[in-house]
């Protein structure tokens, strides 16, 4: 049970060669083995979405995936969103619309929204609401998150 295998995780374009047990979750590997602590753990059973990252273009709950399953795939985390000092339009929109308070769920919401909008830039408001209702936030009451994502969607379509 405790034997480890060597894998490479590609996070935000950078390779991390690590040794993990088969049972190690992707989120633990990202945080503990690769030192990228921007991805958070909220429930470890796939409900809250705080650990959402983008794997090969799709938002994934990294607490429900084993690290070994992500080997060789392209993983994107919150640390890879900004371009140098310039925030990603989604990050900027969250700031402009007060879409975060404690900020713990925020990376998960950012990656969820970015992942979905990259796949479907013209997503309808109702579908978007469905998507956003898959993550939990305890501070904001969601309305500012929805406003931020809609504003960023406009920006992302332009840019």
């Amino acid at each position: 049970m405790n034997s480890k295998s060597n894998i490479t995780l590609t996070i935000n374009g950078r390779d991390h060669s690590i040794a993990v047990e088969a049972r190690r979750t992707l989120v633990d590997a990202i945080r503990e083995d690769c030192g990228q602590t921007g991805t958070h753990i909220g429930c470890e059973h796939g409900v809250c979405g705080a650990c959402t990252v983008i794997v090969d273009g799709l938002p994934v709950r990294s607490c429900l995936m084993f690290a070994t399953q992500a080997a060789g795939k392209k993983i994107r985390t919150v640390e890879g969103l900004a371009n140098g000092d310039k925030l990603h339009p989604m990050q900027q929109a969250f700031m402009d619309h007060h879409g975060l308070q404690c900020g713990f769920c925020t990376p998960g919401f950012l990656m969820l929204a970015v992942g979905v909008l990259e796949q479907d830039p013209d997503i309808s408001d109702d579908e978007l609401l469905d998507v956003l209702s898959s993550n939990l936030c305890r501070c904001t009451g969601y309305q500012n998150i929805i406003k931020a994502v809609k504003a960023a969607a406009k920006d992302m379509r332009k840019g």
Binding site: E21, H40, C43, V78, A82, F94, D96, Q101, G141
Partner: protein, 757 residues
Amino acid sequence: MSAKQKFIGRSVPRLEDRALLLGQGRFAADISFPGQWHMRVVRSNIAYGKLGPIDASAALKLPGVHAVWTHTDVAHVPAIPFRLTGLKTLEPYQQPVLAKGVVRYVGEPVAVIFADNAYLAEDAADLIELSIEPLQATMLAAAQPGAFAPDLSTEPSILQKAYGDVDAAFRNAHAVVALELSVGRHSGVPMETRGAIARYDETRDILELHGAAKVPHWNRDTIAQMLGRKKESVQLYEGHVGGGFGIRGEIYPEDVLVCVAALKFRRAVKWIEDRREHLIAANHSREQHHRVRAAIDAQGHILGIEDEFFHDNGAYMRTHAATVPDLAAAMLPGPYRVPAYRAIGHIRLTNKTPCGTYRAPGRYESTFVRERLMDAIAAEVGVDTVEVRRRNLINKSAMPYTLGLDTLGTKIVYDSGDYLLLLDKALKAARWDELQDQLRKRRRNGEKVGAGVAIFVEKSGLGPFDTVHVEVKDDGMVEAVTGVASIGQGVETVIAQICADTLGVDYTKVRVIHGQTDRISRGMGAFASRVTVMCGEATRLAATKLRDKALKAAAELMQTNAAALDIVNGEIVRAGGPGPSMPLAELARTLPGGLSAEDTFESTHMVYPYGVHVAAVRVDADTGNVTIERYVIAYDIGKAVNPKLVEGQIAGGLAQGVGGALFEEFRYDDTGEPLSVTFADYLMPTAREVPDISILISEDAPSPLNSLGLKGAGEGGANPVGAALASAIDDALQRPGAVIQLPVTPQRLKAMLHQSR
């Protein structure tokens, strides 16, 4: 002439956001030290029973498992003491850090494991063999009290609060309205679970605890006392905190255990809670059962209120002791004239997770009770629910209004308010009359739609003090060091705004330091919506001192008098004209002692914001679902330092209020087995369930108790949500008084619909 106000009252962007958006936050789990061990807690799986021997031999054989502790290993550590409302009679009911001879709830820590990593520690926990002889669990607080221990009842105390001649009020009443009401067990459930990382620094002889929140100084002093150390040799460090809501940051067994272990093993020891643990081990809240009666005259004026209630505090009395039932009793009269009042609160222990405060503690509960009572009075007298409230609201001319009750060591005096005016504003914002017409029409067409109103008084700004140290640093930044804490609400931004305006610098040039016990010797932390009020005023006082000092020193250097100078955008300039100028940082460098000032704001009275919620709902008879179609919140907080952040507090509070009103409930079976242990069965509202709301921030009644007129904004979004939704659901069903229990889950609503057929 002081610098022109530029920041107070403006919705400037938050200083906190950038790091959090970049994934550079430092939450508890993000903190690690080389060579650290991980702690795993073994918890009771039995609600009530005699704890026999614990067999850890198999666990200890696992390579990388270093130690297993049970109560005997920590027998020298006292039970966790009270922080607030600590009645002497409650002390025998305090929680030991590891169970001693008896377990009292599922989730109670009985042993801890120390291992090289978290996975291994959890493996080891599975190998621990507990022997627990089950006893009959007490699950209902309103039942006859039983025995906590041979000479201790499960009713440690009965609270009494009263004024006026209640018996005469009932004797002379035109009618008496009586209700029996329940509020369900739910809690704050922040998105970040708890966490604590302790390490001992041998060279400095300092025990460090990281992952602190809410009340770092109090916890520092208490942990030092519990471990027999000088308080200067224990330091707490607050990083980012993923939501507080009352429950996070109190001292729990795990916080003490990592400290004891770090001292014993001379190793950093890290504990991060998992979600299942959080739902059974962190403070629950709210569960109360009320039997309330009102004596009224023929017009529905209240002559007196009597409330007997049962407060289910779970298995132990934790840090809040009697705080929640005390606040429930003290705040029940709310915004109405209640000439005579008596509350009898039975504090009861059951074999469930222990309880503490949760956003609007005691008030979510007693506002539900009071506002249900107002609706019942309306029905009794035959007037509408708004009119009955109008008839009873305290008039502006009665302010300041002495209620005749105490809570949290203070006398309740409503400092200012115009309740009728705010009610009118809220109804106007909700287009109430038009709404009533629409709802009537829709009901005629068979829809189950309705609207309700709830009015409440909040409390905030609890003293007794806050201290702020302000200093101009070499890098040109102004540093404001405080003993308050940030739980995600925007403390850094708001304090920076107040400091910036007072001093005459840009708010982005103010660095606010909080939650670090080694940076300031004392502080009160973040609870009771106190930070903006207490720390805000202390900041203004300290920054004023600093400004005076700076102008005086600059006047000497610039050979003029202080009155001729001003500070604008961080530069000392000639007031109202051109001339030489000097950056504050440069002035600070020229002064031998630098440029700093400290001041303290003391207050013996709380301040009392007040609000009105208006809700309109649609009930789906097939599914039992409640859809919130319209929601208006009017809240008077005297002065909003940053309106956008205030709106954020209100909207977030509402979401939590909706959770407790419609969805969230910690359920148990008859044997005390918890049934709400994942996010699949403890249902928090998502973006689908929380409505878009209209928020009206009103500033009609500034507090006379501080110079800016501030009142706290943290809890008014949550306080009356159960009450407002209950009223709206009654209206939708056209059955006054139908809702007697929160949460109104779809199952309960369907049962109500079934009864009404």
